[in-house]
């Protein structure tokens, strides 16, 4: 069966193959067995077909029934061994290939967890997902089908050729020429179709992008009555894709009929020449008959071999992508200061020194940019003493979120220092640093599982009682209890069954159960009804009690209660002070304050 031959081709073939082999190496005994059994099955198949010749010759030369029985019995034994070998290798391969793919997937995911946030921010989710779907799929398919098929067909071709030469070397010259023609044609059409395939992939990408944009812009399209024009645009791209696909597939589909026809022509030429040889007594009729069966048999493996090796090659492109990801530098972590947690107190362990965790965070002249050409933060200096609340305000893009991303080292600063309890945060082991910092993000993401599981995500070893206590602190307890299954209610599809406000309450509960000494809060601006809003506010306030807090503020009460407010604009702190001081200043904060807040 012809396979789609992808336009992708691995760039560094030998490296990819080596990596793949190292995965396969863990199952080397199984794979060796597979290879042996494949060869055995091919040999049996060849031998079985070969037996036709002596059996028929035996009959023609008057061997009688006894020789027929004997011939058939030997062939039967050969065939039985062949079937058993085929059964064996296909079963072993089916299992081994899945184990290999299992290992690859596991390494892929494990490594992905170590990648810096930058990787996730700079790659579309769909793109990353395709490592798990498209790429792993092609590798898996290649392993379960193509690996044994290539060995089998390759050996079959070799074996058939050998048999052909043994049976009749003169005729085999003709066959060799014909095989060469087949090979040439297959290569020609593969090359042709490959060119169109890459054009097809490109137009598919264009169509994909167009649809992404249009699906996202549905409202605008409707508001502007633009459906017809868009359909036109879509049609154009769709037509292009159709044309490229048709061309690619046309060339690919000619392979089988061409190979088949060439093999028929060969068949004809061989039988004519063979006939003359029989007439001249060079060979026997039986030998010719069995020879012709071999000739017929040889076309299939050639066809298969070309297709499978093409497929194997394209799946190596998938493997290469996977290995590239696995080879991506993980998040840097040179820190060796660790954190110990004893009931309610925490301490840093810096070599043999033990520093109690107090929650004192200071920024000294911090510069930062996501990419070199576009500096985001300029010369940020600030401090938060233990237990203080620092609020960041400013318009979108001013750099509020960026600052919070630097404290927990989602991103690393370029210049300056961030000091946590007197220790440069780069010296703290990332895992421990992040344990010490609680985060409530603007968008709450929930995982499939119960509500209890989702709250416990904050601290895996929390008891049920602790989970409920945290929910109570967050003001989430009452709504959870009102759900039909309470804490055991299943969350599905990122919490689609909960309102935005309820999801936020869960996020607060999650942070509460983690009970970290320092908190980073990004207040949500999403649509929340006033009652829940009120619950959230109280929950947040309770959560903030007794902790150092950095908050990206959208609420009036939060800003008013802050010990210090940092007003950011274009990546600089332009004003700082408490609410009353800043109002008296009549500056940017004053403008924001009178403009940004809505009714509450």
């Amino acid at each position: 069966m012809p396979r789609i031959v992808s336009a992708k081709k691995p760039k560094n073939l030998s490296y990819t193959v080596k990596r793949l082999l190292s995965y396969m190496g863990r199952h080397s005994i199984s794979l060796l067995l597979v290879a042996l059994l494949v060869i055995m099955s091919v040999l049996c198949n060849l031998l079985g077909t070969y037996m036709i010749s002596p059996v028929i010759d035996g009959l023609v030369s008057g061997g009688g029934k006894a020789s027929l029985y004997k011939g058939v019995a030997i062939t039967a034994v050969i065939y039985i061994i062949g079937v058993l070998a085929a059964f064996g290798y296909s079963q072993i391969m089916a299992r081994a290939s899945q184990k290999i793919v299992f290992d690859i997937r596991k390494d892929l995911f494990t490594h992905m967890q170590t990648l810096p946030l930058k990787f996730f921010d700079t790659h579309q989710h769909g793109f990353i997902m395709s490592y798990y779907t498209n790429d792993t799929d092609t590798v898996s398919d290649a392993l379960s089908n193509s690996f044994s098929a290539v060995i089998k067909n390759g050996f079959q071709i070799l074996g058939t050729m050998t048999m052909l030469i043994i049976l009749n070397w003169r005729l085999s010259l003709i066959v060799t020429i014909s095989y060469f023609c087949m090979f040439l044609y297959v290569r020609f059409s593969a090359k042709k179709s490959k060119g169109y395939y890459s054009k097809q992939q490109k137009s598919l990408g264009a169509l994909d992008g167009y649809m992404q944009e249009m699906v996202a812009g549905q409202k605008v399209i409707k508001v502007f009555n633009h459906e017809k024009e868009n359909l036109e645009g879509f049609r154009e791209k769709n037509k292009e894709l159709q044309a490229m696909g048709t061309a690619a597939q046309t060339y690919a589909s000619t392979m089988i009929p061409a190979v088949v026809s060439i093999s028929f022509l060969t068949y004809m030429i061989v039988s004519l020449f063979g006939g003359f040889m029989v007439l001249n007594g060079i060979t026997t009729l039986g030998a010719l008959a069995s020879y012709l069966v071999f000739v017929r048999q040889a076309a299939a493996p050639i066809n298969q071999f070309t297709q499978q090796s093409n497929f194997l090659l394209s799946s190596l492109a998938g493997a290469e992508r996977i290995f590239e990801l696995i080879d991506t530098e993980p998040e840097e972590d040179e820190g060796n200061v660790t954190l110990t947690r004893m009931d309610d107190s925490w301490a840093w362990n810096d070599g043999d020194r033990e520093i109690p965790l107090r929650g004192d965070v200071r920024f000294f002249n911090v510069d930062f940019s996501y990419d070199k050409n576009h500096q985001i933060l300029h010369d940020i200096s600030l401090y938060a003493k233990p237990g203080q609340k620092i609020a960041f305000v400013g318009s979108t893009g001013a750099g509020k979120t960026t600052i919070t991303n630097l404290i927990n080292r989602f991103y690393d600063i370029e210049k300056g220092e961030i000091i946590f309890d007197g220790i440069d945060i780069r010296r703290i082991r990332k895992k421990d640093l992040r344990e010490a910092l609680g985060m409530v993000l603007q968008d709450t993401h929930l995982f499939t599982g119960t509500i209890r599981d989702n709250i416990r995500y904050g601290r895996l070893e929390a008891t049920d009682a602790e989970v409920e206590e945290a929910a109570a602190i967050a003001n989430a307890d009452s709504f959870i209890r009102r759900l039909p299954k309470g804490y055991d209610t299943m969350i599905i599809d990122d919490g689609a069954n909960l309102s935005a406000g309820q999801r936020q309450l869960l996020a607060i509960a999650r942070a509460a159960v983690a009970n970290p000494p320092v908190l980073i809060l990004d207040e949500a601006t999403s649509n929340i009804d006033t009652r829940t809003e009120d619950l959230i506010e109280k929950g947040m306030d309770r959560l903030m009690e007794g902790r150092t807090v950095f908050v990206i503020a959208h609420r009036l009460s939060t800003v008013r209660n802050a010990d210090a407010i940092m007003v950011l604009e274009n990546g600089r702190i332009i004003e700082r002070g408490n609410h009353n001081e800043l109002i008296a200043l009549h500056g940017r904060y004053y403008d924001l304050y009178t403009g940004m807040f809505e009714l509450s």
Partner: protein, 576 residues
């Protein structure tokens, strides 16, 4: 299967290509089957009788047949590819067409990524079914019937073995396929589970990292990975059973032909050439059966894709036009009559409840209210981005549902809160408002929207390329271009949903002044700042989805309610 049937109906003109492709395969198969009989003749009559002329004649015939087979095969490739890709394009277009007619309540059922895979990879699966499946699907039955016919005509007795073994093979392969098909769908489900763990992880990667839950996630992934490994192993080991079983049947066939054929040769009832020809038939027919079983496996996979595509095609748009929609808007007073709305029928509270508002033609209206008070939802009922659940919304005394959607939206322009520009030049984007607009008209609108100044600074002006999603302009610039785009529509009603939030206050005042000059047009401003709505003819204050207060600035100030409270919080210090 019904899903596939439905999709095949969409093939339209390409059905012809499909039929021709099928016919060509059938003809090609016929040639392939004739060739072995000629071969048998060549050996038995030609070589055995040392008749050279006969041998050459038969050889010629064989060559012609092989060339004809080649010609049909190559033509088949063309028609089959045309059918497959034509079909795919037709399905895709139909899906897209349907998608465009979706109301938001329809779209909300799917995720964007899932909609897009339904238009891309799922269709690729269907195309591949034709690319890889059509040939064996036609060949197998043709082979079987012709093969049986030929073999009977060659030697009835030998053909009996064949007749006994073929159905056995059929039953064996069918049994495997029937057992594997449901296993595939279980496997697909496990694959989905694994993907959703990865997706969840990606979506929540900040949470994962903030809580240092990498290892926990790995454990979770490990479990689904393990499960997938087991399921896939089980499914595949069942699926690959067809290979040795098929071999067993084929070998049995060869053996019995050898045995019975041998006996017949001994009794001089059969010639050597006949046996050889017969054997090659057997191989061909059995091979095509094997292919067929592969096709069934392929089909059972494509069924899942067909179902996913059909669900998009079968989705009935929730928003429909009446049978004879009104295509002319004569007057444009707006009235909300006891209108209520909720985003989904299982939401616990109404987003808007029992709204009663009258907006006379040509008036300027300001709408204020907190987040979630229903401002955006309210205006989206006017041009039917959503439909009111209860009560009605009327324009010029006619229910908006009675207008044709085109007329309604042609007359109502809306600058959305979450607005978008599309890839292409600024000119392309502005022309969404009026595709026939001249450059002067474009610039006029641009100036009114306060975008003229920055746009004149762009070296390429209107021809500046925006890149996907309008990434090459700042938020405030984008908002102004969106206003210009809406103005170009020359609407009767224009709605601004908080559409100057990223524009500085001086420019905002300029834009507002320009807009005030537009006479006869009803203007609705949703705003956060009091200053944006202070001179409106009517100000509506929404709270919790209800109209809390209405009036002019002075009447609302006198009321001592929410409006006054906002005013005081925003205007404290006596600065306006």
């Amino acid at each position: 299967m019904t899903n596939i049937g439905k999709l095949i109906k969409l093939m339209g003109p390409y059905k012809k290509d499909l039929v021709i492709a099928c016919l060509l395969v059938a003809i090609e198969t016929g040639f392939e089957l004739i060739i072995p009989t000629m071969m048998a003749d060549l050996i038995d009559n030609g070589i055995a009788n040392a008749d050279t002329a006969y041998m050459l004649g038969k050889g010629m015939q064989m060559a012609i047949c092989a060339l004809l087979a080649l010609a049909t095969g190559l033509t088949y490739a063309r028609f089959a590819a045309r059918a497959a890709y034509g079909w795919g394009a037709a399905i895709r277009e139909k899906e897209y067409e349907n998608l465009q007619a979706f109301a938001f309540s329809n779209i909300d059922k799917y995720e964007t990524s899932s909609l897009i895979t339904r238009l891309t990879s799922d269709i690729t699966v269907m195309q591949n079914t034709i690319n890889n499946g059509l040939r064996p699907l036609v060949r197998a039955p043709v082979m079987l019937v012709l093969g049986l016919l030929f073999s009977f005509s060659m030697n009835g007795e030998l053909a009996i073995t064949f007749i006994i073994l073929t159905p056995i093979l059929g039953i064996v392969l069918f049994t495997i396929v029937r057992r594997v098909a449901p296993m595939y769908s279980i496997m697909q489900k496990t694959v989905d589970d694994l993907n959703s763990v990865v997706e969840e992880n990606l979506r929540a990667i900040r949470t994962v990292k903030a809580f240092v839950r990498g290892e926990y996630e790995e454990e979770k992934f490990g479990k689904v990975n393990e499960k997938l490994c087991q399921t896939a192993s089980r499914t595949n080991s069942m699926a690959v059973l067809n290979m040795p079983l098929f071999q067993a049947v084929m070998y049995t066939c060869v053996l019995s032909l050898m045995f019975f054929g041998g006996l017949m040769i001994l009794n001089a009832k059969l010639q050597v050439g006949e046996l050889t020809g017969f054997l090659s038939y057997v191989m061909q027919v059995l091979n095509s059966m094997m292919m067929l079983s592969n096709v069934f496996l392929l089909l059972s996979r494509s069924l899942a894709s067909a179902a996913r595509i059909s669900s998009v095609l079968d989705e009935v748009p929730d928003m429909k036009e009446t049978e004879a929609p009104i295509t002319k808007m004569k007057s444009w007073d707006i009235e909300f009559r006891n209108a209520s709305f909720r985003y989904s029928s299982d939401a616990s509270v109404d987003t808007l409840s029992h709204i009663n508002i009258k907006i006379p033609q040509g008036h300027t209206i300001g709408i204020l209210g907190g987040t979630g008070s229903g401002k955006s939802s309210l205006v989206q009922l006017i041009d039917r981005l959503y439909d009111a659940e209860e009560g009605e919304v009327l324009i010029g005394g006619i229910n908006v549902k009675d207008y044709s959607l085109y007329t309604l939206r042609e007359n109502v322009a809306m600058v959305l809160q979450k607005n978008l520009l599309f890839s292409g030049t600024i000119r392309d984007n502005l022309k969404w408002g009026n595709k026939d607009a001249s450059d002067e008209e474009l610039w006029e609108a641009v100036d009114k929207a306060g975008a003229g100044e920055f746009l004149r600074h762009f070296p390429l002006g209107l021809d500046t390329d925006l890149g996907q999603g309008g990434v090459n302009v700042s938020g405030g610039q984008k908002q102004r271009l969106c206003i210009a785009r809406a103005l170009l529509k020359n609407p009767k009603i224009i709605i601004f949903d908080d559409s100057t939030s990223a524009v500085d206050s001086a420019t905002e005042t300029l834009i507002r002044n320009n807009l005030h000059k537009l006479k006869g047009i009803t203007k609705i401003f949703i705003a956060q700042r009091i200053s944006s709505v202070i001179d409106a003819d009517t100000i509506i204050v929404l709270h919790d989805g209800k109209v809390a207060e209405t009036g002019t600035h002075s009447s609302l100030m006198a009321e001592n309610g929410i409006y006054k409270e906002i005013y005081e919080s925003q205007m404290k210090g006596g600065v306006l």
